[in-house]
Symmetry: C2
């Protein structure tokens, strides 16, 4: 449902005098430095939520979509879901003696990342299906929650749920206060993200769109109805798959999109090409000191075409180094 | 987002004295006659939303799923989407001269329902893909809206959007006021329903799950990004497909489910088998005078297994004739 908070927020905003609005804007997004991206966000929100403005957008159409890895939280040195998968392979290995001699399991168990990387997407999906399937969604959620409780990021030595970017958390809150619905549209597994999206981002699990495995409805041995996760890929939510899944799950074209790689290119194109005011934004990782600097090409994805298209399509490019006064909720300003 | 209204509603409810609560319950669901189904609904809502109750359910988990055709609106003498498809075949026929001699188009154009019915699901899907594909979702939405503006139900001579059941509209409102999220999970086309679900039911389009066709992301001739509907079935959201799509779109097990046919059997099983308080309800069409009486078997679906399972699973069976004081918003009480 469209939250009444949104409408009330807009109505209240309309009563604020220009000076009050300016003061509110000055205190918004405290972890964003004054600069073109912060200005673009605030202008966009004001234009789309001010009744009478030529750019006004009704609350039901205020849809903002966010990539997850590298856009909302850290994706280096490797996707957290990949580390989760490796941990699960180790946990399950005693039940699969053949894994010690069978690729890609052998490499995963030996920590031989070079051979594992050489097995490519196919190898990774084999690990995913072997560790994510054969159980109910509820049981899978528990394996994710258990892993999150103990796993630590190799560089920051923090739980992964503490590695969301503070400026993006502020942006999510700002948009929701302005009546937007915020959605995750990720190449990662939807069920992996759904476990922690609400506590970390304030995004309920039904607003998480991502890659999916097939499931099947079954009556268990005692007649208990359940879903069972199958070892088959259902949908890879990446690249041109992102606008397709947006159409299927959200059913309308977003008016704002945030990404950080070429996997987000088509989502950015789709969201920003509609009529009326739009906001497209690319997070650029150029801060080796506070996070990572990997820019156009890295082991886990490229930002190349999207960066080239940004000026022509009017997308803001956010230099983490220049624009973000603070990176994490717990790190200094 | 979980609406704050829900939490506030609960908090306010907790302050009401027993007498006030009784008065509120007496005025709730005015089109439902006093009887076991109405009582079952009110007891369920009170138990799941009263903090401190052993059956209390946090707002995020208050998910209720509804079949559409025959549960929320009239499905006789035939699904409205079927009539929409026939209308589109007639409109598009001049561009397809071969249709006058090619099945199932010939029968559709000639109004030869017997031959058309004999072509079965396969024939119907051929008509659907020919009339629903080759355009953007936005263009498809316009064809649905145009049809709804002029089409009339053959018996009631009313627009189809006026044929929602008043008792179910009251139920949807009651649940939402109690902090529930209401979802449609239909065998019908998701994009067909999304055009009118918000104005008719108060259900936003992202809470409509249904059968889908494939779509593709494209850059148009002028480089404009768009989705294009393809003439291929993506997913048939019926029977065991309903719990599967609930897992995919909602990501959690509902605690209440409403249906009217065996196509809803697995959804009812899934929703009512979880731990804690649950509500399963079957709408039984037994009122030929005010609506239709078709009960266990009709041309458009059966209610057989689900009716047999109802007592064992604790589902309420709602006789429209006995339980509903009023059928439509415009009809007398």
């Amino acid at each position: 449902m469209i939250s009444r908070r949104g409408s009330l927020g807009v109505a209240a905003g309309a009563l604020v005098l220009p000076a009050g609005r300016a003061a509110a804007q000055a205190s918004a997004l405290p972890s964003w430095r004054e600069g073109p991206p912060r200005r673009a966000i605030l202008d966009f929100v004001q234009a789309t939520t001010t009744e009478g403005s030529g750019d006004f957008v009704p609350p039901a159409e205020r849809v903002a979509v966010f990539d997850n890895d590298g856009t909302l939280w850290v994706e280096q040195p490797i996707y957290s879901q990949f580390l989760f998968v490796l941990g699960r392979v180790r946990e399950l290995a005693p039940q699969h003696p053949d894994w010690t001699s069978r690729e890609p399991f052998r490499s995963a168990l030996a920590g031989d990342m070079a051979t594992l990387a050489a097995s490519g997407t196919r190898g990774f999906l084999e690990l995913v299906t072997a560790t994510h399937a054969g159980m109910t969604p509820e049981a899978f959620h528990r394996t994710v929650a258990d892993w999150l409780a103990t796993a630590r990021h190799p560089r920051f030595s923090r739980p992964f749920t503490e590695l969301a970017y503070q400026p993006m958390l502020e942006l999510l809150s700002l948009l929701r206060a302005a009546g937007f619905k915020t959605w995750i549209v990720s190449g990662g597994g939807a069920e992996f993200i759904r476990v922690w999206s609400e506590p970390v981002y304030g995004i309920p699990r039904e607003q998480v769109v991502g890659s999916t495995g097939k499931t099947e409805f079954r009556l268990g041995g005692d007649g208990t109805p359940m879903l069972l996760r199958l070892p088959e890929v259902d949908f890879i939510d990446d690249g041109p798959g992102k606008p397709v899944s947006i159409g299927k799950f959200i059913g309308r074209r977003p008016i704002a999109a945030f990404g950080n790689s070429d996997g987000d290119l088509q989502m950015l194109q789709y969201a920003t090409a509609g009529l009326g005011r739009r906001l497209g934004m690319i997070i650029r990782h150029d801060d080796a000191e506070r996070e990572y600097a990997y820019d156009r090409a890295s082991r886990i994805g490229t930002l190349d075409k999207a960066l080239d298209e940004a000026p022509r399509r009017g997308w803001s490019v956010v230099s983490m180094r220049a624009e973000w006064a603070r990176i994490f909720p717990w790190s200094g300003g």
